[in-house]
């Protein structure tokens, strides 16, 4: 936060867009700003109301060079925008440098307005800069995929230190998966540390095996995948569904989404660019898009390039950045190039050689918030691939807000 931690002394904060950049459609500017506010309202009790006239708490404007405050902008590049901490007058206001090229995309030919606005509004709410690489409040602009953008835990910790967590949990999600390009953006809580709450885990012997408790500290998973910004956890015929749009965990069954699919997946992964999820069981795999199963499946896993002696895989995860998919079998892994649709040369390799801290088999794997999560039994390991570092170990069900 800023010195003396200035914050809004109310939960209903108003904002007004004073002018627009000619680089974007007005509707795209309004959507980028609204989504940026939604990011913060989803993790705090704050509610944001847009005003179309008069004085709002947060006045948003585009300007170049000298623009009436003591901090002139500097032309293209360098400083992109700035904003003032909560207080009356100029407090809370956010200014964007019109000499930049603003865009709604995450290309390298412009700056994504949603990302910069989300950062600046963090200042408007009282946050200072973070030195955690990957946090939204990191001072340097980083182009990244904004489709299912989620706040880093550091951002959530900072804003909740000022305003606390959200009040009521919104209504339970409907069944429908979000459209391929989700229009609303909020955040899902990033995984918390090991759950403190102990759940009784025994099932009474007479009762048929039922869905394990969300917060059962011994809970393990068969497979985990993202799906259009959500995360699906599979065990037997059960699915736990974590959506960034709602804080509640939804409980489903595989047959409620894909009636003709078998239960007990070994692995699953999403190729977000093609809006496709692949499920693996024994030596077969299926491809789905949303609810529909693609025709011509199941296919043998040898179609992907596995040797015939491989009868099943343990886990799979697709790296959005490198477009490679990693398949884990025993203590080894393969790398599959989704662009060339072929296994890479020089594989399999030992998992431990390239994934620091993962010295065992992998039950399930996930990429989220720029990190990889490897699940082994009732534990998961958060790994920063770029820096080849094991960040932390948590319980497998730490995503369930236990």
């Amino acid at each position: 936060t800023f010195p003396h931690s200035p914050k809004w002394k109310k939960e209903d904060v108003t904002y007004r867009i004073l002018n627009y950049t000619p680089d974007m459609l007005q509707a795209d500017v309004e959507e980028a700003i609204a989504r940026a506010f939604q990011l913060w309202s989803s993790v705090t009790p704050l509610r944001f109301t847009r005003l179309y006239g008069g004085q709002a708490d947060i006045m948003i404007s585009f300007a170049a060079g000298f623009h009436g405050d003591f901090y002139s902008f500097d032309g293209p590049g360098g400083t992109l925008a700035h904003a003032y901490p909560p207080s009356s007058g100029i407090g809370g206001d956010a200014h964007f440098d019109e000499d930049e090229n603003w865009t709604k995309f995450t290309t390298h030919s412009g700056f994504n307005l949603f990302l910069v606005a989300a950062h600046e509004l963090g200042h408007s709410l009282g946050l200072g800069h973070s030195n955690v690489f990957g946090a939204l409040m990191y001072p340097v602009y980083m182009a990244r995929d904004t489709r299912d953008y989620q706040l880093h835990q550091d951002d959530i910790d900072g804003i909740q230190a000022l305003y606390g967590p959200p009040r009521e949990s919104p209504v339970l999600p409907t069944k429908a998966f979000p459209p391929q390009e989700p229009t609303e953006l909020t955040t899902a809580e990033a995984p918390t540390e090991t759950s403190s709450r102990e759940e009784t885990t025994e099932n009474t012997p007479s009762k048929p095996p039922s869905r394990p408790e969300d917060c059962d500290p011994h809970l393990t998973f068969d497979a985990i995948t993202t799906l259009r910004g959500e995360i699906l956890f599979f065990k037997g015929s059960y699915v736990w569904r974590k959506s960034p749009y709602f804080s509640e965990i939804e409980h489903d069954t595989i047959s409620s989404f894909w009636p003709s699919l078998v239960a007990g997946f070994d692995a699953a992964y999403e190729v977000d660019k093609t809006d496709r999820v692949l499920f693996f069981k024994d030596n077969q795999y299926w491809a789905v898009s949303g609810y529909s199963i693609e025709s011509g499946f199941p296919k043998p896993i040898q179609n992907l390039g596995f040797p015939t002696n491989i009868r099943k895989i343990d886990a799979a995860v697709h790296d959005h950045n490198t477009k490679k998919t990693y398949f884990f079998v025993g203590n080894k892994y393969w790398s599959y190039n989704e662009n060339t649709k072929s296994m890479e040369r020089g594989y399999p390799r030992k998992i431990a050689a390239d994934f620091h801290g993962i010295g065992h088999t992998v039950d399930a794997a996930l990429q989220k918030n720029g990190y990889f999560y490897f699940f082994h039994g009732s534990n998961q390991y958060e790994v920063d691939i770029k820096r080849k570092k094991l960040i932390r170990t948590m319980k497998s069900n730490s995503w369930f807000n236990c």
């Binding site: 992109l80 700035h82 700056f111 910069v116 030195n131 001072p139 340097v140």
Partner: protein, 82 residues
């Protein structure tokens, strides 16, 4: 190869402006001792290197300059707006 002297002068001016904007560096216009100014600037460079997890040398090396040239937010990293 060694940096061309003129380029080096530009870099130092750029870095000084950056440190004034984001690390509360104040150049005392009338300070007679150039060495003192460079010491204080080295302290601020160390502060910036530490914030970004760079090697803390106090030297205006290539990595430090590259980080200074990244597009960024106009809010200071270690002080709020007065």
């Amino acid at each position: 190869f060694p940096v061309v002297p003129e380029k080096e002068k530009e870099d130092i001016q750029f870095a000084q402006k950056y440190l004034e904007n984001f690390y509360d560096f104040k150049e005392e216009k009338h300070s007679l001792f150039r060495a003192q100014k460079l010491d204080r600037m080295a302290d601020k460079i160390r502060e910036m290197q530490s914030f970004f997890g760079l090697e803390v040398t106090g030297q205006l090396n290539r990595k430090t300059l590259d980080m200074m040239k990244q597009p960024r937010c106009g809010i200071p990293d270690i002080r709020s707006y007065s």
